[in-house]
């Protein structure tokens, strides 16, 4: 059996009924036969009547690096919450590949299916060491039994070492993650994402709190990952966005739906975008 959901299976957020698998079944690959990895269709998220997301339509193709910008409160984080199963949309559909209905999958299953996320506020396991954070994130069978008997092999150790190098926390690997500075936590979280090897990476403001130099490095990193993963980046740092968007599409969200879409240059020139977002 695959991790693909049968029709009619439901996720009941009140009971936490996850319908399927409880993480025991490793999903097979994502069906991306039509070139897109993520489809969001007519998504509405309403909080007590306030529509944080309003008829949002969006899709991301395999290997694409998509930048999302938009005013504070436009619904960007909420959109990521919907994709990762943290928030259930009031209506609308979200598909990962052709077959996986994200609105009916649990957070765990979604993570298993290959979606990784970096949160807007860095969230790492504060009591665990940097090394352990990476180890926990590492792509592998994450069921109870295998976890109990898991031992790191040298290949995995190398991989962790490589990532440590990359996020420049080598030498700090035994420090509890809670003691890192804000920016270091951001990096660690990115490192955890890389360990997870997801097919779709969601980055919510990855360079917030990073110095300009580090922002540049992050941009570099993302440019390297381009093509290997599908990536969705939310940022307010226009310099950074320009850097990574290159000629790709940039989507502007406003009041819960797409306001504009196009290359960075097009978007930056759009009057409406200037009005609500960029300012004069």
């Amino acid at each position: 059996m695959s991790g693909v959901l049968r029709p009619g299976q439901q996720y009941d957020s009140a009971t936490g009924d996850q319908g399927v698998s409880y993480g025991r079944i490793k999903p097979e690959g994502v069906d991306t036969t039509h070139g897109a990895i993520l489809y969001l269709e007519d998504i509405v998220v309403s909080f007590d009547g306030f529509k944080a997301i309003n008829n949002l339509n969006l899709d991301i193709s395999v290997g694409e690096l998509r930048c999302i910008i938009g005013p504070n409160g436009a619904g960007k984080t909420t959109m990521m919450d919907v994709i990762t199963g943290k928030t259930r949309p009031t209506s609308g559909t979200a598909f990962f590949g052709q077959t996986m209905d994200l609105t009916r999958m649990s957070e765990v299953d979604i993570a298993h299916a290959g979606i990784g996320r970096k949160f807007q506020r860095p969230t790492v396991f504060e009591q665990h060491s940097v090394f352990e954070n990476l180890e926990l994130a590492m792509k592998m069978d994450k069921r109870v039994k295998t976890t109990l008997f898991a031992r790191l092999n040298s290949e995995q150790k190398d991989k962790i070492a490589a990532i440590l190098q990359l996020i420049r926390l080598n030498g700090q690997e035994n420090r509890p993650a809670g003691l890192l500075s804000h920016g270091q936590k951001q990096w660690l979280e990115i490192g955890m994402l890389l360990m997870q090897e997801p097919q779709l990476i969601l980055l919510d403001e990855p360079v917030a709190g990073m110095s300009d130099a580090e922002t540049a490095r992050t941009a570099e990193l993302l440019n390297e990952l381009r093509g290997k993963h599908s990536i969705m980046v939310v940022e307010h740092d226009m310099g950074f966005v320009t850097e990574i968007a290159q000629q790709g599409k940039v989507t502007v969200l406003h009041e819960g739906s797409v306001l504009a879409e196009g290359t960075m240059a097009q978007v930056q020139a759009d009057e409406r975008v200037i009005e609500v977002y960029l300012g004069r």
Binding site: A14, T15, G16, F47
Partner: protein, 532 residues
């Protein structure tokens, strides 16, 4: 019954009230003697005198204020005692012994006194007397009741008497009278009528009915139905009231915890002991009044309320300043620590007041109850406590939501460090908040002292319930606490008649477990991001 024998004579004598005659020495001797039957006869004979003195003597006997020495019987009147045979007033001889009574005699006295009091000039006395007779209205009383009915001009008492007459007439030989009586009782709330009516309707083994007249049986069945319906309604209202009352108790017990635990996050295992301290403060106030102001004893609660609040709050503040303040942000440590505090407080009370319960009496204005729907008694102490609970909740709500202090309290409990940074003296707020929670626990203790025992373990009986209420309502949700308390009270009280007290309690606990499955953050769960 005893009453029957004397009715006739009372009737003859009621109009001669006031005629003075000393009580026959023989009667007095019988009264103080050992033969119970003779004592009853003596009581009835005295009652048959039907005069003021009879009322006085019988009342004195009922209150055990008659003394006997050798053959002389004395009635205590303040400092002095009156020799009933001679009427001489003197000091009570030292070795005079009180004449004791038992329930049988007490019942005879009650009946006799009620009969006499039906003719009292005081309306209330008459009303009480008419009510007291309800249990045993019999044909023998009819002449008396009819007399009283004719003489009566108060409509309420009149209707009571009418019911009594009808009740007595149920056994009349004339079927017309019986039928009228059965019909008249259609509106009676008196459950004691049920067996009588049921008896009318039961079939004897030979196929005959106890009530021979079929049309009367129909009426009787009607009346029985009406009474049953009324009783069912009464039971429902009763359960409703009991539930609210239990809810108010739970609420008062839990409210302080809703602050110290719900808002401040301290798993306060000593909460029960703060309740206990409130109750003991009430006891202490009562003792103070007994000692220094015995005349105003009934007012002791007025002192107890502020005193209990202050004493518990002071204890709370002391604990907060010395111990708990080091534990913010470490809720589980607070569990261990407050458990220790609770042990110490309990033992301290044992050392000071003794391990036994102490006596806290309801003041007169909280004793007894009002009778509604015929025979449902809503006791004053419970009614007052319900209103008191609502008042305290309202006050707390005002304080927390409508004052700057309340805002600070909520801010500090959510993010102590940032509150500090915007200029809130967090230490002071912590102290006040914990003091407030503790003080409210003290008020809860005052209420509990009016319902149950006051002993070193008082708190232990409420701590689990209190936590259940706060958690079920949703931690930090005042409204949730209120609803949870009343909800649990009602559920419990509607279950108890069906399942019994033990199973009701078990079902409630299972209910809580299941309910939390549905609402993992309690009744009033916060939704949204702010929760995380």
């Amino acid at each position: 019954m005893t009453f029957r024998k004397i009715c006739a004579s009372i009737v003859l004598l009621v109009f001669s009230l006031g005629a003075h005659a000393a009580i026959d020495g023989k009667l007095l001797q019988a009264l103080s003697g050992d033969d119970p039957d003779a004592r009853i006869v003596a009581v009835n004979s005295i009652a048959a005198m039907g005069n003021e003195e009879a009322v006085e003597v019988l009342t004195a006997l009922k209150n055990e204020q008659l003394f006997v020495k050798d053959v002389a019987v004395y009635m205590v009147e303040g400092e002095q005692a009156k020799d009933l045979a001679s009427g001489k007033v003197q000091k009570l001889p030292d070795d005079a012994e009180a004449i004791t009574i038992n329930n049988r005699l007490r019942a005879a006295l009650d009946s006799a006194l009620s009969g006499l009091k039906l003719f009292s000039p005081d309306k209330n006395t008459r009303l009480v007397a008419a009510t007291a007779l309800e249990k045993e209205a019999t044909p023998e009383q009819l002449p008396l009741l009819n007399k009283a009915y004719l003489k009566e001009n108060d409509s309420e008492i009149k209707s009571r008497l009418q019911m009594l007459i009808a009740t007595a007439n149920l056994q009349a030989s004339d079927p017309i009278v019986r039928k009228a009586a059965v019909k008249a009782l259609l509106d009676s709330p008196n459950p004691n009528l049920k067996p009588v009516l049921q008896k009318m309707l039961t079939q004897n083994p030979d196929g005959s009915y106890n009530e021979t007249d079929a049309s009367i049986r129909v009426e009787a069945a009607n009346t029985l139905n009406a009474i049953d319906g009324r009783l069912a309604r009464m039971e429902f209202v009763g359960n409703l009231f009991y539930g609210v009352s239990l809810g108010s108790v739970l609420l008062l017990a839990a409210l302080g915890l809703a602050i110290t635990f719900g808002l401040m996050g301290i798993i306060n295992m000593a909460h029960g002991e703060l309740l206990m301290i409130g109750a003991y403060t009430t006891y202490a106030c009562q003792m103070l009044f007994r000692k220094f102001m015995p005349g105003a004893l009934d007012a002791y609660l007025l002192l107890a309320l502020p005193a209990a609040f202050l004493v518990s709050a002071a204890v709370g503040i002391l604990l907060e300043r010395t111990v708990i303040r080091w534990l913010y942000g470490r809720p589980l440590e607070t569990l261990l620590c407050t458990w220790g505090i609770s042990l110490i407080l309990m033992q301290a009370v044992r050392s000071i007041f003794g391990a036994q319960n102490v006596e806290v009496a309801n003041p007169a204005w909280m004793s007894g109850g009002i009778t509604v729907l015929g025979s449902l008694v809503l006791s004053y102490n419970r009614i007052i406590i319900i209103f008191f609970a609502l008042f305290v909740v309202f006050a707390v709500w005002l304080l927390l939501n409508k004052t700057r202090l309340g805002l600070f309290v909520r801010a500090v409990t959510q993010n102590r460090r940032m509150a500090d940074c915007v200029g809130v003296a967090t230490g002071k707020i912590d102290m006040l908040t914990f003091g407030l929670g503790s003080g409210i626990a003290g008020l809860g203790g005052v209420a509990l002292s009016q319902l149950g025992n006051v002993g070193p373990d008082l708190g232990q009986n409420y701590i689990v319930d209190s936590f259940m209420v706060v958690v079920l309502g949703g931690v930090g949700q005042l409204a949730g606490t209120v609803i949870a308390a009343f909800g649990l009270g009602e559920v419990n009280k509607f279950l108890e008649p069906v399942a019994g007290a033990v199973m009701a309690k078990i079902v409630i606990l299972v209910f809580i477990i299941v309910f939390i499955q549905r609402r993992p953050q309690g009744l009033f769960a916060l939704k949204g991001r702010s929760v995380e």
